[in-house]
């Protein structure tokens, strides 16, 4: 196991109380595995992604643990977390277009970043990787503003993976792109994994069909909790959780071209995460809900590698 997350709880501090955005999530990611993370807007995907690398000022680590390569990550401590960042956990941000310092030439920025982490820049390796993503080597002598959007994104992908991290987090990196560019990004990410630049990956998106092209395993979250996790094909073709089933059936044709459909086609809204009612959080919208659902359904491994948190599925 590269990554093991155990009962992770991360809340947002707000005036009205804590928003329980990530409320007891457990899962693992194996060596070489790409885990796709899907779910409606606001279900806690970004929160999970950030929790693994850098909490923002309003987030607090309430409980649970994250283990990466048999080391427990000090995720609640911004300073202690620094040695792990970039080298063990890295991130391709959603904001690739503005992720690079606009007033530094890219090559110089990379060198200064590596210097600051006390890592020697392997220029040949950097050049190889630029070749791989089809960026001319001259980009290193340019300012970010001189690159097109797609070039910037590829450059950031190269920077983020330069130190061969064990875990790479990619949060919504394809949302702003057109379909053909999305495909290219997905192919590149796969290539990174196949070449061993990254050991495992957490790929976050709204878009289940895109996830299906890339991920080995798909994890579906609902309202801060894990709903279902299974090999990609199983989630798409034989989901067990009522929420996943609705998600999949609301897509036109899974895995085919127009993958732009967002996960919104389910009536009703997710519950507030401020003071969530006990029991299954999907209860209000679930067509199969029954008495027992007033208790919280535990995640159960119904088949090998197939975990579902629903009383009906167990």
């Amino acid at each position: 196991m590269t990554l093991e997350v155990d009962d992770l709880r991360v809340y947002y501090r707000t005036l009205k109380g804590d928003v329980q955005a990530l409320d007891g999530v457990s899962f693992g990611v194996k060596d070489g595995e790409i885990l796709g993370l899907a779910g409606e807007s606001g279900c806690g995907k970004t929160t999970l992604g950030k929790a693994l690398i850098r909490l923002d000022g309003r987030m607090k680590h309430v409980g649970g643990s994250v283990t990466l390569d048999d080391q427990v990550l000090p995720i609640g401590d911004d300073v202690k977390m620094n040695p792990y960042r970039f080298k063990q956990v890295s991130l391709i941000p959603q904001y690739s277009m503005s992720a690079m310092n606009p007033t530094r030439k890219i090559g110089r920025m990379v060198r200064e970043l590596l210097d600051s982490r006390k890592v020697k820049l392997d220029l040949d390796e950097l050049h190889n990787r630029l070749d791989l993503v089809e960026l001319p080597r001259e980009v290193l002598g340019k300012y970010p503003i001189e690159l097109s959007g797609g070039m910037k994104q590829r450059m950031v992908m190269v920077i983020s993976t330069l130190l061969n991290p064990s875990l790479l987090i990619a949060d919504e990196i394809t949302s702003a792109l057109d379909v053909s560019t999305q495909k290219a990004v997905v192919t590149t990410l796969k290539g990174f994994r196949d070449r061993g630049f990254v050991k495992s990956m957490l790929f976050i998106t709204h878009d289940i069909s895109l996830t299906n092209q890339l991920a080995d395993t798909i994890m579906v979250m609902y309202a801060g909790k894990l709903a279902e996790k299974a090999p990609a094909g199983v989630v798409v073709n034989a989901p067990k959780h009522p929420y996943t089933q609705l998600l999949i059936s609301s897509l036109p044709e899974v895995g085919v071209r127009y993958a732009d459909k967002r996960l919104t086609g389910i009536p009703g809204n997710p519950p507030s995460l401020l003071n969530p009612v006990p029991g299954c959080r999907f209860r209000d919208r679930c067509p199969l809900a029954f008495d027992k659902c007033a208790e919280e359904p535990p995640p159960v491994e119904v088949e090998k590698d197939h975990v579902v948190a629903c009383w009906k599925a167990a």
């Binding site: 007033t103 030439k105 600051s116």
Partner: protein, 331 residues
Amino acid sequence: MRRYFGRKLLVYGLTFFMAVTVNWLVPRLMPGDPVASMLARARVAQPEAQEALRVYYNNLFGFDQPWWQQYLNSWGALFRGDFGISLWAFPTPVADLLTRAVPYSLALLIPSILISWVIGNRLGALAARRKVLDNTVLPVSYVLTATPYLWLAALMAWGFGIVWGIFPVAGGYSFSMTPSFTWPFFVDLLWHWVLPFASLFLVALGGWAIGMRNVIIYELESDYANYLSALGAPQKLIRRYAFRNAVLPQITGLALQLGVLVAGALVTEIVFSYPGLGSLILAAIQNKDFFLLQGAFLFIVLGVLIANFIIDVIYVIVDPRTRVGMAGASA
């Protein structure tokens, strides 16, 4: 690049044109014969000069010519460097009075602006997102920017000059001295310069510190800063980048503040009777010497425009984005 400077120069050209036009128009808007009424109101030093002045100015204004001819004449005079003759310091030409005063004003302005800008930026950058420093630097800076230049000048003149008697409080040099290129005179000059410089410097300092603090906080929240943090870059590197990027809007701020800084220098000079443009303007107003006032006005406008242009050039040198963007090479 050409477009950028083209636009800037157009603005500056228009501004100068407007300033000259206003300068030409305002006296003509006064009721009656402007020359007569100005001479009547002015306190001309030598009464016998009255008649000479009347002839001279009637010629200069050229009221017997059509207005457009008068207007062109005024541009012609301007390009010859002819700003008229001072009523108050008759028969000294206004241009002479102004060129004698300008070095003093520049000696106050340039060091106080540059040094306050550099130190203020450092202070503001240090204070940003650091609780203790922020809570000391920020309030002090707010008090400083809220202080009228003239009042801080008066306080310093009173405290350091009169109560403690450390520095002289009036003039550009001692009355007993004659200007010369000698050490004693230079030291004397410097001695008189300290207080006006210090009070200008202090008021301006606060503004720069506040500006830098606000901009750098914004930079520290920007995407590139977040990305670097996520990659575990130390705060030192992130702050270095943020500072460098925050300096750019501060350069623009320098251009925007020029007018205020010049105004501050003028009143500060008055407090210290410092022989720069400010004191000339005061004399002009007190003696209703409108020609001197108008000349000073054009000098200041011209100076501010030149300074603006210099800042534009510096900005282009410092910000790679303007250069790259203007080269039109972006893919």
